[in-house]
Structure formats: C-alpha cells, structure tokens
C-alpha cells in the first residue's frame, strides 16, 4: 500500500520530489500539476484555504492516498512510512489512559518492519522480475513477514532519547490525558521523532494551544530543524509560517512554491498576506 506510490532514488539532493502530481479522491482531481521538492534541512510551510487540498496532500505524502497522476520520488535513504507524522489530535485521545512513554514508544511500531523492507529491496535490486513477485504477496503474508509483536531494547532506548530531546523526561510516567495541550503536542512530537530519521510532517501543530505554548512549540520545531531535520508544516497560521519556514507551498488553483522571500514578493503571496492581516 504505502510503498508502491513512491519511487526510491539514490539522490542526495532531495528527500522528497513531487513532480506534476495530480491530487484527489476517487478520480476527482482537486489539484493538478503540483511540483515541489524538500531538500535535507528545509523547512516548508504548506498554506492555503480550507478545502484546497492540504489534507489530501498530507495523505498522499504519507502514502495513504495514491496520487492520480505524476510521480513522487524519495532520496537520501528515505522511503514511504518513515515520515515522522504529527497528526491533529482526536477526541479519543482526550480520554485515553496511556502513559507518555507508551505513546512515544508506539512511534517505533514500524521500525523492525522498515528494516525488513530494506532487506527485501536490497535482495531484489538487480532483478526486476523478483520485485514483481514480491508485490504479488498477499496482504496477510506481508503482514506476517513483517510482524514483530514486541518492542526491542533499542526501540525503548529510542523512545527515551526522543522524550529527553523534547524536554519531557519528567512526564514520562504521567498519564497523557492529564497533560496540558502544549505538553501533549511534545509527546506526539517525540513519537514522530521515533518514526523518522530525517523528516517531520506536522498537521496544524499549534491548534488549540495558548500563545505561550504556541511560541514554545514553534521554537522547539525550529530547533529540530536547525539540528538537521527537514520539516513540512501544514498551517493556518500564516504569520508564523512566514517567520519560521524557509520555503512556502501555497496550495490553490495556481499554486505557489518557492522560498519565503519569493513568496512575499509574489502576487499570490501578497494577496494572501493582506487577506490574513484583515482577519
């Protein structure tokens, strides 16, 4: 499912390259001919009005909704399923009895599985006919070949490191539902860190946070970015997007992709910035 939409390349220039992609559901195109790329260390903010296709883009980048047309390539050793995703919070989570550590550890759920796929890819690299055979395997058998029911010691260490990196070590045993909004986002960010080596995908990360927690979280994300992680952030908050991101992808019928400076100069950017200022 996830692996088929992405083409893995040996490129060291980019993590993700989206070329002439058409996004949409059930053959209904939402957005045509979208092209952009994310290089190592980039901080890309995705902005645009509601219904413009931001959430479809997220699903496509996660490999959950295949693009209707076009190609998505990955580089720098990245493959589908290794994006550190920070989803929006759901109602379920507000009442969920789980400790911080349990949640962060669940970020490692694909780790062994990912290692497995790598091996497979390596085995079949030189023989394309084998790749085809591998694809034929049923969902069930692929589930079992990748099935690792329990976490390893390395996973637990990884979770601990991520918790420390997010500055929430003291909360490790606390119950998730008792934490403040900002603390909860740090927990989910730590989980995302467990799932990735190089890129974070954040879906409206500051929704529902108070101003102080919002600033703190933006600074934290900026620190992660400075430490070498690429960041894709989908956001309503244009001011902060302009302040923190170095690239902007504005999704609309004629989309914009470029550096933040270019965006400020562009017609679409100026129009959108003015509109936001009026709100």
């Amino acid at each position: 499912m996830a692996a088929t939409t992405f083409i893995k390349t040996d490129s060291k220039d980019f993590l993700l390259r989206v070329t002439n992609v058409t996004l949409g559901y059930d053959r209904m195109p939402l957005l045509k001919d979208l092209s952009f790329e994310v290089r190592p260390g980039d901080y890309l903010a995705v902005v645009g009005e509601n219904g413009s296709g931001k959430s479809t883009l997220i699903k496509t980048l996660l490999g959950l909704t295949p693009p209707l047309d076009g190609t998505i390539e990955t580089g720098c050793g990245m493959s589908a399923g290794t994006i550190g995703y920070l989803p929006q919070q759901t109602d379920i989570q507000r009442d969920f009895p789980a400790s911080v550590f349990e949640i962060v550890l669940s970020g490692c759920q694909a780790h062994c599985a990912a290692g497995h796929t790598h091996e497979h890819e390596h085995d079949h690299d030189h023989d394309p006919s084998h790749e085809h055979e591998a694809k034929k395997k049923t969902v069930l058998s692929s589930l079992f070949s990748k099935f690792h029911p329990f976490y390893h010691k390395e996973d637990k260490q990884r979770a601990k490191d991520a918790i420390e990196r997010m500055g929430i070590a003291s909360l490790s045993k606390r119950c998730y539902r008792e934490l403040s909004g900002g603390q909860q986002q740090r927990v989910l960010l730590a989980r995302a860190l467990c799932a990735t080596e190089n890129i974070l995908l954040l879906d409206e990360p500051v929704t529902g946070l108070d101003p102080k927690a919002t600033t703190d979280l933006y600074e934290l994300i900026a620190d992660l970015n400075k430490a070498g992680l690429s960041v894709i952030m989908v956001s309503h908050d244009l001011t902060s997007a302009l302040a923190y991101a170095d690239h902007i992808l504005h999704i609309s019928e004629n989309y914009f992709f470029g550096t933040t400076e270019e965006y400020r100069q562009s017609a679409i950017g100026q129009q959108f910035i003015q509109m936001e200022a009026l709100k």
Binding site: M1, A2, A3, L62, G63, L64, A80, G81, T82, I83, Y85, P87, T90, I92, Q93, D95, F96, P97, A98, S99, F101, E102, I103, S106, G107, Q109, A110, A113, A114, V139, L143, P149, F150, Y151, K173, R174, C175, E178, L188, R191, A192, A195, L201
Partner: protein
C-alpha cells in the same frame, strides 16, 4: 455447614468446576478489549452483535444442531465485519445500522423460537438466552473444550497484537502513516469481539454481555493511568467479579449472569469513588 464447606461440596461436582473455569476465562477475555471498545466507540457494536448472536442461537435451535457454535460463531463474526466495513461509507449510518441489525435479529430470533418451538418451555429458553440464567451450570464437556479453545485464541491474539491494538486504538492516522495496516487490525478487533460475545453468551446471556466488556475497563480507567495498568486491572476486576459472582450465585441460588454484572457495577462505583478521592 459453614460457607467454605458448602463451596467445597459444590466444587466436588464437575459442573461447578466447569462453570468456574469457563466463567473466569470468559470474563478475562471479555475485559481485555474493553478499553479499545469504549474508546473507539465500539461499545454499541458489542451490544448489537450480542442480539445478532441471539438470533443465530434461535436458528441453531430450530435446526436442532447438536452444537450451537457452528452457526452462531460464523454469523456473529460475519455481522461484526459487516458493521465495521459499513462504518464509513454506508447508506445507513453506523448507529442506525447497529440498531436495525440488533432489534431485527431479536425479533426474528423470538419469532423463530415461537414458530418452531424446540421445547415446551419457550419463555424459559428465551430468558436463559437473554440473561444467561443457569446455562453456565449446565455446560457439557464439549462446551467447556470449545470455550477453552476460543479463550486461548482470544488471549493469544491479544498478547501478540497488544502493541498494534494500542497503536491503532490511540491514533489510527499515525499508525497508518508509519505503515501499520490499521484496517486489518480493526477487522481483527471486530473478529475478537465477535468471538468474545459468542463466548460470553454462555456466562451472562446476550443482554448483559456489554456490561461484562465495559464495566471492568471503565472501573480501571477511573484509577489507573497507563494502558498496560488499565488492561491488567480490568482483567483482574473482571476475573474477581466472575469468581465471586459464580460462587455467590451457587450459595444463594441467584442467576449467575446478573450476579456477576451486579458485582461489576459495584466495583465500578468503588473505583469511581477512589478516582474521585485521589483527584
């Protein structure tokens, strides 16, 4: 004769020992998925399925099958899958669908039982199917073996998939993003629920099953903070309720199912107060 001697006397009979072993096992299985069911808003599915199982039992008794399970188990599992699959894109929405299925099955079950009576005491049959009454005390050895086998399957599946069930319950979007086949695990959860319901019909009857599934989990959630401790606590609570419920009903000649559920309800209030006092 004091109470312990009476219990000792009862336990010298095989039917009483069967009842205790099977009852405790069923209670254990039923409690495990409680948290998932409550949080995923699946509790009504459990309720609906138990009515479907009632209908299936009516069919089985009309067909005069030597073993009900042969027909009840497949029908219930199939309905579980149907309910889950129809969840998102259904013409008739989830709740209404469940309501339709459950009352429909109830009506047809009762109708069948009346039109093709399998014994002279229809209301007795219906009552024992709905409330379990004493059926746990009339288990044949083959029933005991089937219950044992199904319980082992449920327990094994739960232990093996514990981490995945946690991940899928807590955050389906994230689980999918890192390549976990969330739909497949939802299906697995539905199948386990169906098995548990068929099992639990023996113990508490079809109307009280939800109580067996939900109360221990809700009680544990008042006091405990991590998923693991909640799961363990609800298993213990449920086993305690079944053990004391069955012994109590033997000693004082009360209906087994409702005694167990009454104890579970009491435990819930105790835990609720403890949770309140602790803040």
């Amino acid at each position: 004769m004091n109470i312990f001697e009476t219990i000792g006397l009862y336990l010298s009979y095989p039917f009483a020992r069967y009842a205790l072993i099977v009852g405790v096992l069923i209670a254990l299985c039923a409690s495990l998925l409680g948290v998932t069911l409550v949080l995923k808003r699946f509790s009504f599915i459990g309720d609906g399925l138990s009515h479907v199982a009632f209908g299936a039992i009516a069919i089985a008794s009309v067909l005069k099958l030597s073993n009900n399970m042969l027909i009840v188990l497949p029908i219930t599992i199939l309905s579980a899958i149907l309910l889950l699959k129809s969840g998102r894109k259904a013409i008739i929405k989830g709740d209404a669908m469940i309501a339709m299925l459950s009352v429909g099955a109830l009506a047809f079950g009762y109708l069948l039982m009346n039109v093709f009576p399998s014994s002279s005491n229809i209301s007795g049959d219906v009552c024992s199917t709905l409330f379990g009454s004493f059926s746990i005390l009339t288990l044949k050895q083959s029933d005991v073996w089937i219950c044992l086998a199904l319980s082992v399957i449920v327990l094994a599946a739960f232990v093996l998939f514990y981490n995945k069930i946690f991940a899928v319950t807590f955050d389906e979007s994230f689980a999918q993003a890192v390549g976990t086949k969330a739909q497949l695990y939802n299906l697995l959860i539905a199948v386990i629920i169906a098995i548990i319901i068929v099992l639990a019909m023996n113990l508490v009857g079809s109307l009280l099953i939800s109580a067996l599934v939900i109360f221990p989990a809700l009680s544990a959630m008042r006091v405990f903070k991590s998923f693991r401790s909640v799961t363990i606590a609800s298993a213990l609570i449920s086993v305690f309720g079944a053990l004391f419920g069955i012994l109590f009903s033997m000693l004082f000649d009360t209906p087994v199912g409702s005694t167990i559920v009454a104890i579970d309800v009491l435990v819930f209030f105790v835990f609720w107060i403890i949770g309140r006092v602790r803040g």
